[in-house]
Amino acid sequence: MQFTPEHEIFRKTVREFVQKEIDPHIDTWEANGGFPAHELFRKMAAVGLLGLEYDPKWGGQGADHSFTVVFGEEIGRAGAGGVPMGISVQTDMATPALHRFGSDDLRERYLRPALAGNMVAAIAVTEPDAGSDVAGLRTRAVRDGDDWVVSGAKLYITNGVQADWLCLLARTSDEGGYHGMSQIVFPTDTPGFAVSRKLDKLGNRCSDTAELAFDECRVPVSNTIGEIGRGFQQQMWQFQSERMIGAYQAVGSMQRALDLTRTYLKERHAFGKPLIANQYVAFRLAELAAELDLLRQYNYTCCERYMGGEDTTRFATIAKLKAGRLMREISDACIQFHGGIGYMEETWTARFYRDSRLLSIGGGADEVMLRVLCGLDDFLP
């Protein structure tokens, strides 16, 4: 993939934004268990960083997907995984379906303010009894005249404590399985809705994660995104953006980790020489850097195919799977080669180690990616 001078300036913009507007606050946000999403998103909107690929008609930037790659890589370099996750929920996980399938009225009332940073969005799919198996979800929206009456619960919802609206996936008929679900824009000021718990997590601590409860909440049927009954299919499509941005971010985050580790190992001496002078250490890092490069180039190919209009399900699935696996390897090597200080909370490696564990679980676990691949490649009985 050929990046233009415009990509380079854009990369610098995002990198400086992260260095100035995010990194200095990370420790506070980690301690608080969340970052101020409205404030940060408004700042991002002013620089045109929310909704890169969306239609300018709704406040998007009209960029092509290659800028999303640069954006992902650069926000991935932030000093904690939680902020990039919260950002990409807003830009690439909770809003793509609304942008593509939503009515003009819905896009005016919910997409435009989200892209301006005035509303925070969340994606509400997972439930206590349905995560990997999305078809098992039970939250119901029962039609009553022009309203849906929503009851149920959602779990592990990123931005859930602060969100102004949810892209909610609920059952709207009794068909069962993959049928009869719909995506609904659910405003969080709806009576009967409650954040039942703010969850305490291993990592990504500067991102708020919520359990949500719905008790006979009434929202207009006109809040349905796209076609009633096509929610599962629309969500599966939306997951592709989620997995792609996840893989792009992972590259930035791992590159930063390897760079920091390289610098440390050149300085730290043991047995009369810098640690990097041990061939085992250097070879291990060189190989991980090579693996990272394979992923980066795979992402770039994914991007080109996506821009060429191809279905990139296979690309997104493989990139997400390999990114999750590589994050675990690289964060493990970084903490290992830092030794004792790497285990200390004052060193970046400790947080990185915790944060990096999520990618193999969130957005579809590794095994779910493998399941998808088995289907695509016919590794089935």
């Binding site: 001078p5 300036i9 002013a46």
Partner: protein
């Protein structure tokens, strides 16, 4: 109000800095907008926007691609003049000022020429004053804020004690101190719009200059002496007195 901003494109200070055989700095790689100049660009954009009319024109002399100029255009400047010429290799501060002055004279009507107090790579801090002299314009340095009103430029000029309020007729050359404003990020739309903005590339001959007798010869370059060890004060409970004494000697307090 038309404003000209002199911006230097420099090798990324975060990267390795290398010298050529003739002891000049290697400028072959990717050049970036000198951060020192981003403050002047920001102030110029604010002045233009407050005035509600006029253009911000960038002027730069450097080899290679106009990558730093593109950044400043993406921030919102209207057009750029880039002087590129192999004969300028190794130009000293005075030659630089002469080239910039010739470019300024081609740029049409203007109210202000803005530059940084000093660049990040050469940091002689002498180009802007020489530029003012060649152009026969007032020179105001170390500005922390700039206002144009009633045919005059009003500058708060930073000093060690605080700031002086200085007035000069326009047009004038004003240098801006780093850190006095928050330069805007080039936005996505700004970056894309910059692609279509006029960027004129000029050679020395276009400026009607003869450089044959100019230039400098850098005879040798040496590493700065490494810092001498400081004085160690053992704390016997009253070490703070010694520190206070030292600071008083240095006239810091």
């Amino acid at each position: 109000m038309n404003i000209l901003v002199c911006v230097k494109q420099i090798p990324d200070p975060a990267g390795p800095q290398e010298l050529n055989n003739d002891n000049t700095l290697k400028r072959e790689g990717k050049l970036i907008l000198d951060e020192s100049d981003s403050y002047g660009v920001e102030i110029a954009l604010q002045l233009r926007d407050t005035a509600g009319e006029g253009e911000v024109t960038l002027i730069s002399m450097s080899p290679g691609e106009p990558s730093g100029l593109r950044t400043a255009l993406a921030m919102g400047a209207d057009k750029a003049i880039h002087v590129v010429d192999d004969t300028l290799h190794g130009a000293d501060a005075l030659s630089t000022a002469k080239v910039l002055a010739a470019a300024v004279q081609r740029a049409g009507d203007y109210t202000l020429v803005i530059a940084a107090t000093e660049s990040t790579d050469g940091y002689t801090g002498t180009v802007p004053a020489q530029l003012a002299e060649i152009l026969g314009l007032p020179s105001v340095t170390f500005a922390k804020s700039i206002r144009v009103e009633g045919g005059k430029v009003h500058v708060d000029r930073q000093t060690e004690a605080g700031y002086d309020v200085v007035e000069a007729d326009v047009p004038a050359v004003v240098t801006v101190t780093a850190g006095v404003v928050e330069p805007r990020y080039p936005s996505f739309k700004g970056i894309m719009a910059a692609k279509k903005k006029p960027l004129e590339t000029l050679a020395v001959s276009d400026l009607g200059l003869d450089l044959s007798s100019w230039g400098q010869n850098i005879v040798s370059v040496e590493d700065a002496p490494s810092r001498a060890a400081g004085e160690k004060i053992e704390d016997d409970g009253e070490a703070y007195l010694k520190i206070v004494e030292f600071l008083e000697e240095q006239k810091v307090i």
